[in-house]
């Protein structure tokens, strides 16, 4: 992917300098806006104030816990919801790829489900499973489920049919074919699905915590908002972004390793 317009190509060093300039402009503009007095401190705190708020929250509890504690609470919920979505979604997707009948039966229901925004499940989740652990876990599940199923299904469809037939001829049962032929064959696709699902699950969790929960990083956002403390809100936003980024990097590394070992699916 070389430059398209030669005039705008630029050398590597020039581009690095421009990137530095861009970052400096971003923070500089923010800082200027904050100290200029054009906007109130209760609207936009300076980058320094956000940093101080973040460091303070790391040692002094806010809304019942330190910021690490809140992130850990959120991560625990996320792991449960995402684990459940993967544990149900991947086998379902593989089974849909294996049995045409199941595919025909589940597909329309699944299509209808996909049109419902994950966050729209929040009221039902709270009604059915409460606002403690169950409700948020269900919201994360609804967010992460679709990509888990879809990618396992697509991956299973990409596995060469005669491999499946060979395994069957040699006497493997359905479960064994799915576990030992379809799953390894579909693995690269499954892992990409898990990565997408993990991201969507994390986003849905934030939504659920904003609406109903009384702990976790989403709750810090709400508390910062009702205390009219935008520096706390922004610090929590950064924490949310960083955690999501770390989850994504971890899964990207896993994905790269699996692709190396199990090959590339288109």
């Amino acid at each position: 992917m070389a430059a398209i317009l030669s005039a705008a190509r630029g050398s590597r060093r020039e581009l690095a300098l421009l990137s530095l300039l861009g970052a400096a402009l971003f923070f500089g503009f923010w800082q200027m806006l904050a100290i200029s007095g054009l906007v109130s401190k209760f609207v936009l705190p300076s980058p320094g104030e956000v940093l101080i708020a973040a460091l303070t929250m790391m040692v002094e509890p806010f809304a019942g816990n330190t910021i690490q504690g809140h992130v850990a609470a959120s991560l625990g919920r996320w792991a449960m919801g995402f684990g459940l979505a993967a544990a149900i979604g991947v086998p379902l997707g593989l089974a849909m790829g294996y049995w045409r009948l199941l595919d025909a039966m589940v597909s329309p229901v699944f299509e209808a489900y996909r049109y419902i925004a994950p966050l729209a499940w929040v009221p039902f989740a709270a009604l059915w499973f409460g606002t403690g652990i169950g409700g948020p876990v269900m919201v994360i599940f609804t967010g992460a489920f679709a990509p888990c199923v879809l990618n396992a299904y697509r991956g299973a469809n990409l596995v060469e049919r005669h491999l499946v037939e060979a395994a069957r001829t040699l006497g493997a049962g359905s479960i064994r074919v799915m576990a030992e032929v379809l799953l390894p064959g579909a693995l690269p696709s499954v892992v990409s699905g898990l990565r997408v699902g993990a991201g969507l699950g994390w986003q849905s969790l934030i939504g659920a915590e904003l609406i109903v929960v009384s702990s976790g990083i989403g709750y810090v956002l709400v508390q910062g908002q009702s205390n009219l403390a935008p520096e706390i809100v922004i610090a929590a936003m950064v924490a949310v972004g960083l955690t999501g980024l770390l989850i994504d990097i971890a899964l990207r590394l896993a994905e790269a390793r699996i692709r190396q070992r199990w090959g590339q699916t288109p």
Partner: protein
């Protein structure tokens, strides 16, 4: 009818029947928690005629729809040009990327509290949040679309003496169009998710307001009515976008 469609249709009908029998007829499921088809029908009729949570269904739905369309248009109108510029010029990309990379990992929903601090519960707060949510996919896909245009086509344009501006206008932008629309479809989806969340958190009117009121009243059938309406509107707006795409990108293979 293809056998696959027939089986699918049969499954849906069986499920609906089982649901009806388990709730309305046999009463096996607690209707305080899980609504029956009859309950949903009643709730639907109630909101259509007498209204619920501050209005009848049509104004509530139009209110939400208007905010989504507004936020989506602002996001598409800013995100697509930015993505195209980033795709065209590596210098511009290098300049803008740091800010973009800092903002990108933050989930759109996390902007909601900040938007409330800034703008309260006004419509502008929701449009702002939808803009943030829908902006990122629009930028990324437009950028990738421009970068992925077949270089042979660009070279061919040059050989035939096209100017830079013409190459951009007649080769690069049409070449990126399919990718741009993929991004817009993701943007639209993000717009709906974000709007629902924003309205659940705080709103005066709209489908999210219907759902949060129904949750407080423990009225599951009305929650379901809200969900179904959101899903239908989401499907409808996606359909409209598909039609526009067919118009704008008639050469795309389906």
């Amino acid at each position: 009818m293809k056998p696959k469609t027939a089986i699918g249709l049969a499954t849906v009908l069986v499920l609906l029947l089982a649901w009806y029998l388990a709730t309305d007829v046999a009463g096996l499921i607690d209707r305080q928690r899980f609504p029956s088809p009859g309950d949903i029908w009643t709730a639907g009729a109630q909101i259509m005629t007498r209204g619920y949570a501050g209005g009848t269904l049509v104004p509530q739905a139009l209110y939400s729809l208007r905010l989504v369309v507004l936020g989506f248009l602002v996001a598409a109108g800013t995100g697509v040009p930015l993505g195209i510029l980033m795709g065209l010029s590596r210098r511009f990309e290098a300049l803008v990327n740091p800010a973009f990379l800092l903002v990108r990992p933050i989930p759109p929903l996390a902007w909601i509290p900040l938007a409330i601090v800034w703008l309260g519960l006004a419509d502008s707060a929701k449009v702002l949040v939808i803009w943030f949510a829908a902006f990122v996919p629009a930028v990324i896909n437009s950028h990738t679309g421009i970068r992925n245009v077949d270089r042979t086509l660009i070279a061919a344009g040059r050989v035939h003496g096209a100017s830079q501006a013409r190459i951009v206008w007649d080769v690069l932008i049409p070449g990126a169009m399919p990718m741009i629309f993929t991004g817009l479809r993701l943007s639209l989806q993000a717009s709906w998710t974000t709007l629902v969340a924003a309205e659940l958190i705080g709103a005066v009117l709209g489908l999210g307001k219907v759902m949060s009121t129904a949750y407080r009243d423990i009225y599951p059938a009305m929650i379901a009515v809200g969900m179904i309406t959101v899903a239908l509107l989401g499907a409808l707006t996606t359909k409209v976008l598909d039609l526009i795409e067919r118009r704008v990108v008639p050469w795309r293979q389906y």
